[in-house]
């Protein structure tokens, strides 16, 4: 790399990849060659920067200048102006939060400043396809330390003391899980990584695997040493081709370097990792279903106990941890328990990566200390609600979680507080809703997901979630009856109380929490045939108010020809034809069209 003066880092996450990145990279390399900078500038595809709304993203080092929304047509300007002439292209700089403060360097941005990066520390910084870069950033040092200086008991003890809790949803203490498996008898023990990432909207695991695959592999080897297992499997969904490719490269490189395989660091310890691809069933993220799937069975949960730590894969002691959980391990080993415990809260140390989505200005990944207030996450980091709309609620924990209202914006987010509020941490999805979201419809949306994803094994979940969905559909289409609310609640409690696995046990949460905080919205649908948020199509009507100027603009945009009227005279909307798309309301220059 002698003579290289600048590096251009290009976001290589799947989101940007979809935004014609390959074409842009090709063009950039071509232009660099053309202006004679080939030996001075290196173009590197990196992991996801976590700012997907802004992609494709380019960061130019050493200056740390951060360009967003780069198009193929901008390449010439960046190469000539910035790389050749040293002048920053202002026009393309990342605009930060709602355009107020223009930032040049990524680390100056408010989104990044509030964050603490442990899990995502290497994402977007190193080339994930090059093990040397990982090693340059202290990679495999923790494994070396563990194998040469620590006993397995000490490793378990450090993880236990660190207070690290599972980031896959349940928040189970990782050290405790390891200690069970370490004590369990078995001629082989297995280390599994859960990269099934099924929660809609969550993509932190993918980002880690795409941006820093070695951090997971290293942690799995450490786990193997701690519990006495020599084989690891990463169960990853086949819909993540880039993550799979990078993992394959990483595993191959680690084997070449002797960091996987036999007698690692001359310690006598053997460990290897293989990939197992999942076919995209949400239920295969549940630990026992995941194990069944690896065994070649239909991915369906099994009875617990016995827990996998005692009897897991092929009946052997097995630990399963989430990608994000593993991504913390090496740094806890290297930087120590006290450092880790200084971040986050007493009961839940460390950080959590959240995937912000929905009605929020900055969507993407944020990594923040556990215990951060919801208000900070949504308004400071997330930039608040776009289009001047009012914040209404936020759904955490995906389809297993619940919604949190504006009354709870000052709650410090951790595993326990979320459960108290009737939600859960889940994998860290955060879907923000504004005043236009109907909460009954939100519950319907999540139920629709669980009905599709229920494995069908046990009665309450298989039959019950479907009935809940049908009732919600009835209510959102204006056909709800008083007793539907009673049935809905009764079903919710029985499904929670009797389902076999976590999917069924949490599936009613979105309904219970919206019923708790927004009962009036349910009642408005059922008793007044009204959707207060103005969202449910069957319950709203579009009218042309009396002082219509007759400009006819609405007639031309209505896709179904529901509006009629003579030019310069009052127009009317035929409700039978209207599909409630709202185009007319948008176009009317006089705000005469009303939605009710």
């Amino acid at each position: 790399m002698d003579g290289i003066k600048s590096y251009v880092l290009i976001c290589g996450g799947a989101n940007c990849t979809s935004a014609h990145k390959d074409e842009i990279v090709k063009k950039m390399k071509g232009k660099i060659k053309e202006v004679g900078l080939k030996t001075e500038v290196q173009v590197l595809p990196k992991g996801c920067f976590g700012l997907c709304e802004e992609g494709p993203i380019f960061v130019v080092y050493p200056e740390g200048v951060f360009y967003s929304h780069v198009q193929a047509s901008d390449i010439n300007e960046i190469v000539v102006e910035h790389l050749l002439n040293g002048r920053i292209v202002d026009r393309l700089l990342y605009k930060g939060i709602v355009g107020k403060n223009i930032v040049t360097s990524l680390n100056d941005s408010k989104i990044y400043k509030k964050q603490t990066r442990i899990v995502l520390k290497n994402c977007g910084v190193i080339n994930p396809e090059n093990i040397d870069e990982y090693i340059a950033y202290d990679g495999y040092m923790a494994l070396g330390k563990v194998l040469t200086e620590m006993t397995s008991e000490e490793v378990v003890e450090v993880i236990r003391k660190s207070g690290l809790r599972g980031r896959g949803g349940g928040g189970f203490p990782t050290g405790l899980k390891w200690s069970f498996a370490a004590k369990a008898e078995g001629k082989q023990k297995y280390v599994l990584c859960n990269a099934d990432e099924g929660d809609p909207g969550a993509f932190m695991d993918r980002s880690v695997l795409e941006g820093d695959p070695h951090s997971v592999i290293e942690a799995m080897a450490i786990a193997g040493y701690a519990i006495g297992g020599s084989q690891g499997y990463i169960y990853i969904r086949a819909e993540y081709p880039l993550a799979i490719k990078r993992l394959e490269i990483a595993i191959e490189q680690a084997r070449e370097y002797g960091l996987l395989g036999e007698n690692i660091f001359d310690s006598g310890f053997n460990f290897d990792v293989e990939l197992r691809l999942g076919a995209g069933a949400f239920i295969c993220g549940e630990e026992t279903a995941l194990i069944a799937s690896i065994e070649g069975e239909r991915g369906m949960p099994r009875n617990k106990p016995p827990f996998p730590a005692i009897k897991g894969l092929w009946g052997m002691p097995t630990i399963l941890n989430n990608v994000e959980t593993y991504a913390n391990i090496s740094q806890i080993i290297l930087k120590g328990v006290d450092w880790f415990r200084s971040i986050g809260t007493e009961k839940s140390p460390g950080t959590k990566v959240f995937a912000l989505g929905g009605k929020i200005s900055n969507t993407g990944l944020v990594e923040i200390p556990i215990g951060t207030k919801l208000r900070e996450i949504i308004f400071d980091i997330g930039g608040g609600i776009p289009n001047g709309k009012e914040f209404k609620a936020v759904q955490t924990g995906g389809p297993s979680g619940g919604c949190i209202t504006s009354d709870h914006l000052d709650v410090e987010i951790d595993y326990e507080t979320l459960i108290e509020l009737g939600s859960m941490m889940g994998s860290g999805g955060m879907i923000v809703m504004d005043e236009d979201n109907c909460m009954v419809d939100i519950a319907r949306f999540f139920l629709d997901f669980t009905v599709d994803e229920s494995c069908g094994k046990c009665t309450p979940c298989r039959e019950g979630t479907k009935r809940m969905l049908e009732i919600l559909e009835k209510i959102t289409t204006g056909n709800g009856e008083a007793e539907d609310l009673v049935k809905l609640e009764r079903l919710a409690y029985v499904i929670k109380d009797t389902s076999l696995c976590g999917l069924g046990q949490t599936a009613p949460n979105p309904v219970l929490s919206t019923l708790k905080y927004y009962e009036d919205e349910y009642k408005a649908h059922v008793f007044e045939n009204r959707c207060p948020a103005g969202y449910c199509h069957e319950l709203i009507q579009y009218f042309v108010a009396d002082d219509c100027k007759g400009c006819s603009k609405c007639v031309s945009v209505c896709p179904v020809g529901a509006i009629s009227g003579v030019i310069k005279q009052q127009h009317t909307i035929d409700d039978d034809k209207c599909i409630k798309c709202g185009e007319c309301l948008e176009i009317c220059p006089f705000d005469i069209i009303i939605k009710k």
Binding site: M300, E453, C458, T459
Partner: protein
């Protein structure tokens, strides 16, 4: 031994007992649709749930082992309500054609709905609607009646070892069928009918030639006569006629049967069935008595022995005889007649 309290009563049971086992010992009635002690408990129906103090959710009694000082409530309001709701959910997705269903009177779903006073589901919505599969010569599968207990699947794989059946689809659309969703007759099904025996509802039923209701029949326990295994069966008898067979729990068959034992009972009532010995007289087969027949056999054996020597006689026994009968047969030949020429059709 482990000390537990069930419904306020302190009791002791061996360590590996499940709550269900303990309850059964105590004659506490716990409803189960998917429990079959011969196969691994799957806890799919969730009807056997009980309340265990200190546990967040209700626990399936069929797969939860007892633990020291466990306090269990088998019929608390919470438990009863949950069971009722589960029954409601099951009948909401069931044809409820009990008036004409052959299984009526022997159907666990019907029995439990009666026991728990569940008259109707109260839900309106989607219902299963599958084509009936009558491709197998001996039984009919009507998956619209299936309540997804999974018993047929487990019995076919774990006990019969055939692995013909499996779950197909996901969630509400899950159903049971043969590989590649073909009709059952395209599979390697051996028609043992053990799936028929374990189905708690009328989803897999024998192709019955006779119409009968369960309460019209008398059960007669007997030993299957097809082979020497000695499987126990209950003949279902209506008006002195055998109309069906239930597998019974005998020491050698534990509730399992083969295709012959389960479905091959037609011969009993067949008009051509031989009930008396026939002797050929002047080229015609004529009905006779057992005495006459035995006398004829004995005299022929003696005659042949005298004229041609004992080793010109051989005995050939049937696999339909029991071990004991076969033992006696060779004894007759070796000790009684005096030849070692004795064999058995199962050797061929």
């Amino acid at each position: 031994m482990v000390k537990i309290t069930i419904n306020g009563v302190k009791v002791e049971f061996p360590k590996k007992f499940t709550i269900l086992q303990a309850c059964r010992e105590l004659k506490i009635d716990i409803p189960t649709l998917c429990y079959d002690e011969r196969v691994k408990p799957q806890s799919t129906c969730r009807l056997c749930v009980v309340e265990v103090e200190g546990m967040r959710n209700l626990r399936p009694s069929c797969s939860t082992q007892i633990d020291e000082d466990m306090k269990i409530y088998t019929h608390s309001d919470r438990v009863i309500e949950a069971r009722k709701e589960i029954l409601r959910l099951l009948i909401a997705n069931h044809p409820l054609d009990c008036l004409t269903c052959e299984k009526a009177g022997d159907c666990k779903l019907q029995d439990y709905c009666y026991e728990y006073d569940v008259k109707e589901s109260g839900f309106v919505g989607a219902k299963k609607n599958y084509l009936i599969d009558d491709s197998n010569p001996f039984y009919i599968r009507d998956m619209s009646k299936c309540i997804m207990c999974g018993n047929c699947v487990r019995v076919c794989s774990e006990l019969q070892g055939k692995n013909i059946l499996g779950l197909i689809g996901r969630g509400f659309e899950t159903t049971v069928g043969a590989g590649f969703e073909t009709q059952i007759d395209y599979s390697a099904c051996v028609s043992c009918g053990n799936c028929v025996s374990v189905c708690p509802v009328g989803a897999i039923m024998p192709k019955s030639k006779e119409k009968f209701r369960r309460w019209e029949i008398e059960k007669v326990r007997t030993t299957c006569s097809y082979c020497g295994v000695g499987c126990q069966i209950d003949l279902l008898v209506k008006d002195d006629k055998v109309v069906g067979v239930d597998a019974a729990d005998g020491p050698s068959n534990e509730g399992l049967l083969c295709v012959k034992g389960k479905f091959g009972f037609d011969f009993i009532n067949h008009p051509d069935r031989l009930k008396k010995p026939l002797i050929r007289k002047k080229g015609e087969l004529v009905e006779s008595t057992w005495e006459e027949a035995y006398d004829l056999i004995a005299s022929k054996i003696n005659e042949t022995k005298k004229r041609h020597g004992v080793d010109t006689i051989a005995g050939f026994a049937s696999a339909r005889c029991s071990n004991e009968e076969n033992y006696l047969f060779q004894k007759l030949f070796r000790a009684g007649i005096g030849t070692n020429n004795v064999d058995h059709c199962a050797r061929l």
